[in-house]
Each structure stands twice: as C-alpha cells, then as structure tokens.
Amino acid sequence: MSMRRFNPTLTLPLVRGRPGWGVLYAMLLFSSSLHAQLAIKGETVYTMVGTPITDGVVLIKGSKIDRVDRASAVTIPAGYKVMNAKVVTPGLIDARSVVGLSGMYNYAHDQGQLEKSDPMQPELRAIDAYNPREQLVEWLRNLGVTTLHTGHAPGALASGTTIVVKTVGNTVNEALIDSTGMVAFTLGESVSNNFKSPGTRSKAVAMMRTDFLKAKEYLNNRKNKDQEKRPATDLKMEMLARVLTGEVKALITAHQATEIMAALRLQKEFGFTMVLDGAAEAYLVLDEIKKSGVPVILHPTMMRHYGDARNISFETAAKLKQAGILFAIQGGYEGYVPKTRVVLYEAAVAAANGLSFNDALAAITLNPARILGLDKRIGSLEAGKDADVVLFDGDPFEYTSHVCGVVVNGNVVRETCK
C-alpha cells in the first residue's frame, strides 16, 4: 500500500528475527549491483512523465534508475552493458490479477484464489498463498509485466487480501513490495453463485454493513482503557478495522451499475479508502464515480460478456479517461482458458477503441502505480525509481511487435524477443 510498509520488520513478520536475513538482504543488493550497470537506449523512450524522448537512454545503477535523458546528452560510462530497442517503456504493472494464487493447471490444488467456506473472510492473506514459481508469473514477466497486484479473487463478499509483488524472486518475501495491498470485496451475482447466502443484492449489502459495524465496535472496544474489557484479538475484525482506519484499501469488485452504486454508498457510510474493481457498467455512472473520487481498476478489455459483466464494452476505458477518472487496466481472473490475460494486450485493444496510445500505456504503468500508492517507486522511468524497464522492437501494442528485453530491479531477466 505504501513505501513505509516495505520495511521488512513491518511487512515480513514471518522473517522478523530470522538469523541471516540481513546477510541475505545484503547479498541480494550485492548481486543486483553486479549485473546492473546498464544503459538502455531507445529510439522512443516513454517515461510516462512529460513527452516521450526521441533517441533516449535510461541509465541504471544497481536496482535503481540513475538517469533518463536524450542519448546525445549522456556519456555512457565505460563498462556499462548497452541494450538497444525501438521502444522503451517502464515495466508493466498488472493492476489486478490472481496469478500465483491461481495456477495454470487449473486443478483443485493450484487454485488458491477463492475459499468458499464463508463469504466474508478478509483475514485470508495473499502472502500465505502466493507461489512465486508459478509458470504464469514467468509468462507474464516475459511479456513485460514486472509488477503484479495479485491476490484473492472476486467472488466472495470478502475473499482475502491482495499483495503487490515483482515478477521475480524465489520466495514471496523476495518478490514482495506490499504485503497487504488491499482487501478484496465483491458485490454481484458471482457471490450468490458461490455461497448459499447472500442470495440477493440487498442481503449482500446488509451483511457487509453488519460486519463493518461490528468492526467499528471492535475498534472502539480495543481502545478501552480497562484491559479486561478489551475483546480478544479476532483476525477478521482486525482486517476490517484496518480497512476502516484507512490503513488498508477496500478493493470492491462491482460490475453492474446497481452494484457500483451500492459500493460507493458503503464507501460513503464507512469512509474507507476504496478502489473500484471490474466496473463493466461504469459508463452508466461516470458522474457518480468521478464525484466519489474513487479510482477504477477496469476489467480486461477482452473479458467475456457474461454474468455480472454481460454488458462490458471495449470503449469503457476511453470513457473513463474522458470523464477524468483515474483508472488502470487489469489482467483479471479467468476460470478457464486463457488462464491469465496479459495487460499489454488488454491495453492494446483499449487503444484500438478510443483510448490514446499514451493513456493506454499509462493504464498499465503509472496509473496502477498511483492506485496502488507505489508511484514513488514504480510506474515511470525517472531517476531514483526501481529499474523496471521493457524493450520492444516496435509499437508495444501491435500484435506483431515483440518484447525483446525485460529488466526487473536492474536485473536483465530476458534478452530474447517474444
């Protein structure tokens, strides 16, 4: 959620106190600095801040970007590895995924994205379920995705938390940027399909309100001066309380306009920080979304039109842009084939349907970084930011262009074209 939580002692309770962590951390830094004296030259460099640079260069030192400028203004230091590309962009960010919890094989034990024992389980942590070796992580990385906001799927009133990870690392701890990104809530038919109750829209909202009121009371009682009167720690209440205090954002999946409005009502009633997810019918309530100030993580452009999302349109991204709403485009969740979508392709179809090239690229770089509260670290090519860079041999959105290089945290993780 924010930079401050990247402090390992806060984000990584499992690791805290483990001997050798400091050594390991130092080794990681050391090893990346070994590889990361990089100069990436691009005929066009899309920094995402200001106009694109023609004949630009990105200098990388260690895991961070050192300088971004016109090539003519930069002398590449001796010993730097030089990479060339037609087009250079920041590492792509998938704003909403389940990859790593949901695996490619699609049999029961690689599908950990949705627990169906209870419709309200915000306490389920994505860090306990993310598999960094999942082959789909590599698949996405090879197509330029360097950061994933992944975690529990839509389909329960509260299915659990999300995390933000880089698409590298052997363990979740190595991959992690944000250990508790958001809590994933859903309003819609899919919840009623998965659970006996809620069976209706109004029941779903009533259940959410009841639990948030309980969490409010829990928060107050936990502050009781008399220790005896404080309630015992309840993980579910703890997590909802963190949403209520604004420490953790509420990611509410809502596709139909009715559900979008219900979600905005909940946000207003409880004052939590909300991100609207899915939002297939956002085009019907643009003014209301704009007025609420809630950003949108839009469904994959090519998502199938069925269920809650039966009324999706290729043009919603363009309409959100026109309305001045901050939005990102997601890879989303797929129950069948393809097992994950690729944000590069989803943004491409939005770009072919009314969204400008720059806005489509922003929807998978700087905008998701902003929505995730990580724009000081990722999402653009600027000095001091993480050295996450993608190299293309043409227009990134063209089907026939290739991703020809991927750099994550200053490490070259792919140098061939895909």
Partner: protein, 436 residues
Amino acid sequence: MIIIRLFLLTTTLWCLSGTAISQDKIHAFAGATVYPIEGETIQNGVVLFQNGKILAVGAMGSVTIPSDAVRIDLPGKIIMPGIVDTHSHIGGGSGGDASSALNPDVRILDAINIRDDTFKKALAGGITTVNVMPGSGHLMSGQTAYLKLRPANRIEDMLFCSDPLNDICGGMKMANGTNSMRDKPFPGTRAKSAAMVRQLYVKAQDYRSKIAAAKGDPEKMPKRDLEMEALVQVLEGKRIVQHHTHRSDDILTVLRLAKEFGFRVVLHHVSEGALVAKEIAEAKAPCSIIVIDSPGGKLEAVNLAYETGAILEKAGVDVAFHTDDGITDSRLFLRSAAFAVRAGMTKPKALEGLTLAGARMLDLDKRVGSLAPGKDADFAILSGDPLSVYTHVEQTWVEGQKVWDRANPEDRKYAVGGFQVFRESSSGDMCDGGAE
C-alpha cells in the same frame, strides 16, 4: 395461362430479391488494397461482382469497370475475402447429450438459433463462413454445420448445402483427451476412448458392406440407421471428421484411427502440434489451430504456444485458425493470425489460414476463401493492415450484399459491446466444458 405465367415470374423475382438486393447490376469496389489470397496483393485494386458472385479481380486499369456499374470507392481500405472460421460455437446450439459418448446421428443444425446475437459478433469480425460445432464433451458429439452468414429467417437460409436430408451439410465433430472422459457411458481412459470409437467405425464398415452387397436392391438393404448413415459418409470421405485434440499423443491417436478407417480428418486446437509436426505433415492432416493469450486453464493446454502455426507451416502442414467462440472472440479473430505471425508464421500463410485454408478444411474452397472469378462475393473491408491491432472491420459483405457496417450505429454496437447489446452470454459451451 398468361396470368399464371406472370404470377410465377413475379414470384421468382420476388424470391431472388429476397436473397439478393439489386444484384442484377454489376458492383465495383475501386481503389482499395486487395488481398486476393490466391495471388499477390493488389494496390489500387478493383473487384467486380454481380448476383452474389465475383466477376473479376485485378489492378485498376487491368480490370475495366463497366460504365453502368455501381461503383464503390474504397481508397485506403483493405479488401480481403470474407473470413472463414473453421470452429465456432456461435448460434447457441448444442449437440449430443449425456446419454451417450457417441452421437453421429445428432445434427447441430437442428439446434441453432439463427437469431442468436453471437452471429452479429462474427459479422463484426468480418467472418462470413462458419463451421458451427457441437461441444467437445463427447467422443463424437454430432454433425457440424457449415454456415454462410446470410440474413436468414431459418437455418436452411444459412446452410451451404441445399438439402439437409441428402447433402453433406457439415462435418463430424469428434474429440479425444480429457474433455470426453467422464463417468459411464463415457470412457474413463484414453485407451477406452479409442476402443469405443474403433468399435463404432467397425460397425459402420459392416453397415457399408451390407449396403454394397444389396447392390441397390431395396429388399436386401440394411434397416435405416441414422448413426450408421452419417458414419458411412465419413468412411466414404464425403463428411470430414473435425477432431478436437490437444496433447501430442492424442493427436497421434487421431492419425492412427484416421489411417485405420481411412476417414478424412482436420485436427482442431492442436496445442502440442509442434511436438509432432513431422507426423502431422506425413499424414497430410490439415490443422485448424487456436491462438490463446496464455497457456493453461486445462492440463492439455499447458504447452500451448504462439509458435504452433509457424512450426506447422515449416513442416508443410496446411494451417487454418479458429475462434472456438466463446473461447476467443469472433470480433477479434484477425488477431489470431497476427499472433501466429508474431511467432514466425509468414503473413501470406497466416492470411490464408483465416480464409482459403479454412475453406479447404470444410470442402468449401470452390465457393469461398479467396477473391477469384466465380467465387462467392464475400468480403471483409478493413480500415488497415489485417494484422494491426488498430485495424477495424468496417464492412462485411455476403454474396454481394452488405450485411454489417460499422458506420451504422445499430451494427457498430456489436463490435464494441455495451448496455444490453448481447442478450446471450458468451460463456455457454465454456462452462460445461464443451468448448476448447
């Protein structure tokens, strides 16, 4: 008598105009870049057509536009043949039910809803010819239907064949691998799957022998059997087996059975085709492949790769694409060819894979799939390069008639979606494991 004759004449004219508006006049597309598929790309091209058929295709100047022709100028546009989708589930139909794993008698044409709005999705994607398949949850889920996406009021208006009782109106859908493995009466293993198919074909061979032995004597003919009649058409090479198959060993099983019984087969999906490209080429089995954004979703598709088309092309295999709609979206079918090119397939072969190669796999290449004199006047008119993401299908023409036009808001809505545009969900076959 004269009155009757006049009446007949009027009726005939009325019937003609029902299927073809003002087709008496020659129409000319002029000034576009023409991809005839057979032959080189033509800059500043001319396509002449009349009465639903193509008259001439060539460069401006080499083809003369008659002075009384209806001239349609299309500068900056691309004209390609109407696209052929070799495997789709549009139309809301389904084939065999849970009572049997083998349903050669079941015809999807009896179950297609011609008003299903998924047909509009196909038109919005420039698709004019479709092989509508029953699902793949059976070893043999039924007879497929080869459809032309004409404006229609009944399924007969869309069929390529003229008489469903006597003509071949589609292929025979078969599947192997995990989709068709279920509880009894379905097979539980791969070997059992093959055994059940072989047993049925042995029975059909026997039925065919009895027909041959009867030498046309009605007394000696075997009792009519809808299952056997359809399978005899398969054995005689008149009805092509359209076979769902993913894993390399399953692909080889299909080729083994096709050799044993001598049926013609098109391999569909072919996710691991790259592993057995040589064997597929040797068997001269054409492949209709699917292009998916990422692998997995089912065990058999974990090795799915963008490179399949390129590898099969290099091995000398005839390659077409399919949407498997709703697995991929008919509106975005062009991107399947584009991804194949991204992974090394040649552009001409990839475009052929959207058109003529598919037509060959449906035995329809004399009618559709390329722009050549005498062929059906089916066109997709594009705003730009067929392989570019920014290209839109602007118009779709079937047999000389414009059947979809992006400039018309009522048509355009199907290209982009929106509130209550689609009544039917795209999920149908996908959810019951029928498709892909």
